[in-house]
């Protein structure tokens, strides 16, 4: 049994070259033409804009500039499926198409998916999208096919600055902790790890080093499992059903109907008096 594998994405060394996006598309044979429409975001160099069924890596361009643009910085982050240890998509998938692999990664089996799109709504990070070619939900597979052949994923292989590091999660966490310490020592006190320990969804097998709040990178500050709402929702609904059932029994039972008939008679009598 191989040990859990994952990505450590160090955003401080990302240069926004998008080699990861291209390598991912090439290896996974994902369409590059967006249905023939070459759409530009118009407000940044980020024309991919978000992860979806045909973009399994997305280099996020966060531009932080003062209004006169005299000061500023670019935050660049190559975003990807987090391969959560407790994965919301896998939890809700009603067909069993989403599986946990021997590498502890989360993979959607395209031949089993029927496109109900429950996983799109369940993912705490908005990672999954529909692939218009297969008409199934798709996302990063951590290059399951390459891993099975003993190779590393295409994106980390292509990354020229090693912003994307691939390896056993246990080792990556050590590397990441050392990197945070190094950055703190160099004066970058804002550096911290997102999802590197077990507190976030049991741990993200693909975790990140960030230098601003998660929201700035369009990451949720407090991602949760979808089933957190199941127990209370079921309880309230059951209570409602019981109350409605009782209301129904009182409305329809024989005595109730007789009372209604009496009330009706009274009402008619009132009407008669009113019109008189």
């Amino acid at each position: 049994m191989p040990e859990p594998m994952g990505f450590f994405t160090d955003t401080t060394v990302c240069i926004g070259c998008k080699a990861c996006e291209v390598a991912c598309k090439e290896w996974n044979q994902l369409p590059a033409h967006n249905g023939g429409a070459h759409t530009l975001s118009g407000d940044s160099y980020d024309n991919t804009r978000q992860l979806d069924g045909t973009h399994w890596r997305h280099v996020q361009f966060v531009e932080q500039f003062t209004p006169d643009r005299s000061e500023g910085r670019w935050l660049l982050m190559s975003d990807v499926c987090k391969h959560c240890v407790r994965a919301g998509c896998l939890e809700v998938c009603p067909t069993g198409a989403i599986i946990r692999t021997e590498f502890d990664s989360v993979v959607i089996q395209s031949d089993a998916c029927n496109g109900c799109r429950d996983c799109l709504a369940a993912c705490p990070f908005g990672v999954i999208g529909m692939n218009p070619v297969s008409n199934t939900a798709q996302k990063c597979t951590l290059c399951y096919d390459r891993l099975q052949a003993g190779m590393e994923p295409a994106c980390s292989k292509a990354c020229p600055t090693d912003s994307i590091k691939f390896g056993p999660v246990r080792e990556l966490r050590e590397v990441a902790a050392a990197r945070v310490e190094q950055l703190h020592g160099a004066g970058e006190k804002r550096a911290y790890l997102y999802g590197a320990d077990d507190t976030m969804l049991g741990g993200l097998n693909a975790f990140f080093l960030l230098v601003d709040r998660p929201e700035v990178y369009r990451l949720p500050p407090d991602p949760q499992m979808p089933t957190r709402n199941l127990g209370m929702s079921a309880l309230w609904s059951t209570l409602g059903a019981v109350v409605l059932g009782i209301a129904g029994i009182f409305s329809f039972r024989s005595r109730g109907a007789r009372t209604a008939a009496l009330a009706e008679a009274e009402e008619e009598e009132r009407d008669v008096r009113r019109s008189a």
């Binding site: 067909t95 998916c113 029927n114 705490p124 999208g129 949720p220 407090d222 199941l230 109907a257």
Partner: protein, 306 residues
């Protein structure tokens, strides 16, 4: 930039739109109508049996339509059976903690109950001469089984849709645990309204129609309370309704769908009695539909990942 947004705003939408809204409405009518018909059969007077029949006449076609809507909404409709059987092993596919999974099974089994009761209603009305089918309605062991089992499953079908929305990570849907309750109550009120609408012209059914109208008033009051609690439970996520959707919720659901029908129910004496009841019923149905439109579409468009 996206400073104080709830975490549910950082997710992407499943693109559940009109087919799903239609299913939420019609599926609610299927479950609610069966539930009410079963209650009338089990606790009502013998004279109300034709009224219960109407409930069964609604439930079965509505559950069929529900299945069609759900299958059409799939991106790969021919694979709909993957919800019930694992496509590679042929083992049953069931996850008790996934509402989509439990809902698929509930719809299938409820469909069988609705079909049985539908046959019984046909036989009971004399439209078909199948004496065996009449036993699929109470009284009697088989009939009671169909009524109780189908009634419980009907309420499951009517309520799980709200829980399905809650068991996600989407804005509004996953920010409250009261959507299941709200949809359940709304299913009961819209179903009562639809049966009333089909029955109000028949004088013989008048006492039953009046009982249903009274039940509908109770359900509408519950619905108002549930909606208020729902908005309160949203907390910061209520921002998703500080827009046109909120206006539609207040005017379309609370105003047109709850308050006006309640007034009509209360003051049937001053309004022309004959029309107050069906007008109120139509408004309740409109309100129930708008509720689902607001809940589904307000979340579809929310979030920072468009």
């Amino acid at each position: 930039m996206f400073g104080d947004l709830p975490s549910t705003w950082f997710t992407s939408a499943p693109d559940w739109r009109w087919l799903i809204i239609g299913y939420f409405f019609i599926g609610g009518l299927a479950g609610g109508s069966f539930f009410l018909a079963a209650l009338i059969d089990l606790f009502g007077r013998p004279q109300d049996r034709p009224l219960a029949r109407l409930g069964y006449y609604i439930a079965f076609p509505a559950v069929l339509a529900s299945g069609v809507l759900l299958i059409l909404d799939l991106s790969r409709p021919l694979r709909f059976w993957h919800m019930l059987l694992e496509s590679n092993t042929w083992q049953p596919m069931f996850k008790w903690y996934s509402p989509m999974s439990t809902g698929s099974w509930a719809l299938l089994v409820f469909g069988a109950f609705a079909f049985a009761a539908f046959l019984a209603a046909l036989a009971d009305s004399g439209r078909v001469r199948w004496d065996w089918a009449r036993r699929l309605r109470p009284p009697g062991v088989a009939g009671t089984f169909v009524a109780v089992g189908g009634g419980l499953l009907g309420f499951f079908v009517a309520g799980y849709t709200g829980i399905l929305l809650a068991v996600t990570n989407r804005p509004i849907w996953a920010d409250t645990t009261l959507l299941g309750l709200t949809f359940l109550i709304s299913a009961a009120s819209t179903s009562a309204a639809l049966i009333v609408l089909l029955a109000w012209r028949r004088r013989a059914l008048a006492p039953g129609v009046q009982a249903l109208t009274r039940f509908d008033s109770i359900a509408l009051v519950f619905e108002l309370i549930a909606l208020a609690a729902l908005v309160a439970s949203l907390g910061g996520a209520a921002r998703g309704w500080f827009n046109a959707w909120g206006v539609l919720l207040v005017l379309g659901v609370v105003g047109v769908g709850i308050l006006v029908p309640l007034l009509l129910h209360l003051r049937t004496g001053t309004f022309r009695q004959g029309y107050a009841v069906p007008v109120a019923a139509v408004l309740v149905l409109i309100g129930g539909f708008v509720l689902r439109v607001v809940v589904v579409l307000s979340s579809e468009g929310a979030g920072v990942l468009v």
